[in-house]
């Protein structure tokens, strides 16, 4: 009964994962992928000195810094309020969760119309001094456009995870705090946050791991032109890998960058595992 699962897992997961590492030490001929030759550490040496790769790391780091604190704080605060109220909980949760169910392509398409020069959001935000221009075509704003689209889609998921976590906090802790004269803010800081600590660790670690891999949104805004448009401003790690592999057909070189990505994910995963309290 396990045989079909194992066969498929080996063929479509285990072999490709191992092969991915093997490829990073090889040169692959550009138009005949069956011609592979050993390259030693050449791909890695090239990677270290490639300014485009360094730029993609910088862009990805900026993206993560833009996304993770914002989505975590907003989700935590909204979830805490949702936890406090009694009526219409389900309706609110639904409204927050719908964007996560839709495709990134659909959401990015909508937001491109909202953030075009003269579009609803671009015009509204020009009131606070951001120039009214097409966000996804501006080298300064394109990455922040991706951050907004991304947070909009994922915040609902994290709200749901946090509300689930808050349900595990015993109600008498709140009552005790209330008798001690703690107001809502005090209760949030000294009861809710310690109570959801394991969930907070999970949301932070998963949030970073997911954000590192951002791809779809950046692909859509390139609109069939060079990936990472405008002018490389949205060239994240995965966009860099995709460009090297499927546009420039340098599979070995792209695989070296892939192994780097894999190492980041594993280190972060291990870190999360260590930080998470045992027994759940």
């Amino acid at each position: 009964m396990l045989a079909p699962a194992i066969a498929l897992l080996v063929w479509w997961y285990a072999i490709p994962i191992v092969d991915s590492i093997a490829l990073s030490f090889q040169h692959v001929a550009q138009f005949d992928f069956s011609q592979r030759s050993f390259a030693g550490l050449q791909n890695y040496q090239q990677l270290i000195s490639d300014p485009a790769f360094r730029k993609s790391l910088e862009i990805t780091a900026t993206f993560v810094v833009g996304v993770v604190p914002a989505q975590t704080v907003v989700a935590l605060v909204i979830a805490a309020m949702l936890h406090n109220i009694s009526r219409a909980k389900g309706a609110f949760r639904t409204a927050y969760f719908v964007p996560y169910m839709t495709s990134t392509i659909a959401i990015t398409t909508i937001f491109m119309q909202l953030f075009v020069k003269g579009g609803v959001a671009a015009t509204a935000l020009s009131v606070v001094g951001i120039p009214n221009e097409t966000w996804y075509a501006s080298t300064h704003l394109a990455l922040w456009f991706l951050v907004i689209v991304y947070v909009y889609m994922f915040v609902g998921l994290y709200i749901v995870i946090f509300t689930g976590g808050m349900e595990t906090i015993p109600q008498d802790l709140y009552e005790a705090a209330s008798i001690d004269g703690a107001g809502p803010l005090r209760q949030f800081l000294s009861v809710t946050i310690p109570g959801v600590r394991p969930f907070l660790v999970f949301v932070l670690v998963t949030g970073i791991i997911q954000a590192i891999q951002v791809f779809d949104q950046a692909y859509v805004i390139a609109g069939g032109t060079v990936l990472g448009s405008p002018a490389g401003a949205t060239s994240t790690i995965v966009i860099f890998i995709y460009q090297q592999a499927f546009r420039l057909l340098d599979l070995g070189y792209a695989s070296a960058a892939t192994v780097f990505l894999l190492a980041c994910v594993i280190v972060l995963g291990a870190l999360g595992w260590r930080l998470a309290p045992r027994g759940d």
Binding site: M1, L2, P4, A5, I6, L8, L9, W12, Y13, I15, P16, I17, D19, S20, F33, S34, I78, M81, N84, I85, G90, T94, A95, P99, Y100, M101, T102, T104, I105, A106, T109, M112, Q113, L114, G119, V120, Y152, V155, L157, V160, I161, G164, P184, F202, T206, I209, Q210, Q213, F215, D216, Y219, G224, F246, L251, T258, V259, L261, L262, V265, I266
Partner: protein, 275 residues
Amino acid sequence: MITPLARRRAVRGIQYTILIIFALIMAAPLIFVLYASFLAPPDYLRIVPPDQFTLQNYRYVFSHAPIGRWYLNTAIVTGCVVLGAVIVNTLGSWALARFQFKGKRVVFLTIILILLVPLQAYLIPLYLQVVNLNWLNTYWALIVPFMVNPLLIFLMRQYFSRLPKELEEAAAIDGANRFKIFWRVGVPLTVTGIATQAILIGTWTWNAFLIPVTFVNDPNLFVLTLGLNSLQAQNYTLPTVQMAGVVLLTLPIVAMFLIFQRFIVPSFATTGLKG
């Protein structure tokens, strides 16, 4: 002097207000897209009464793009992946949860290890395998690799582990073989788990973009996400048409979500990850 009751009421009022404002922010883009999809192109970004709504954007999409074909492709791919993955994962996780066999620990640990590796990290070798099989621009490339899912095996194993051992022992005494026990005892008692699997993998497949964009470039084999992406790039100057495309792509999944939401929200909350 503010009484504690009045204060609590005020706090509650503020909380509701913030939650409502946030809900409006989250809903606004979706309401905007639905509204704009019914506007004649010159009316875009204007407020018009409902009697001036038009279906012309939808007619334009249907007459300029093989959207019926895209729907069919998406339905075939999603249907096959859901059916295949649910069968393979459920059988496999039953074996992992209920049988004792040599090497079980190794299999289980390998599954967890694989689970941690994102698709982006082995896309290139996966692509090479698809090329070797001559599967570029076929349904096979979009279906077969996804007929097993380590995360869902893991999830399903939890459901099976919770069943009491006595049930299958009783069935075994009645002379049922292994497969019969699975079918008569395991499956009926874990319908929730099986449905959760189906919903998760169905949503992931329907919304998938990275895999189809890498394995398919023949417009006749486009799934809806690819179709919308090309529609968006081609009708750059026709926002109302793009919005109609968005509605067409999103409607089935949002409808499914609204019908089964009691069930869907917790399942995403427990797995937490996408894809």
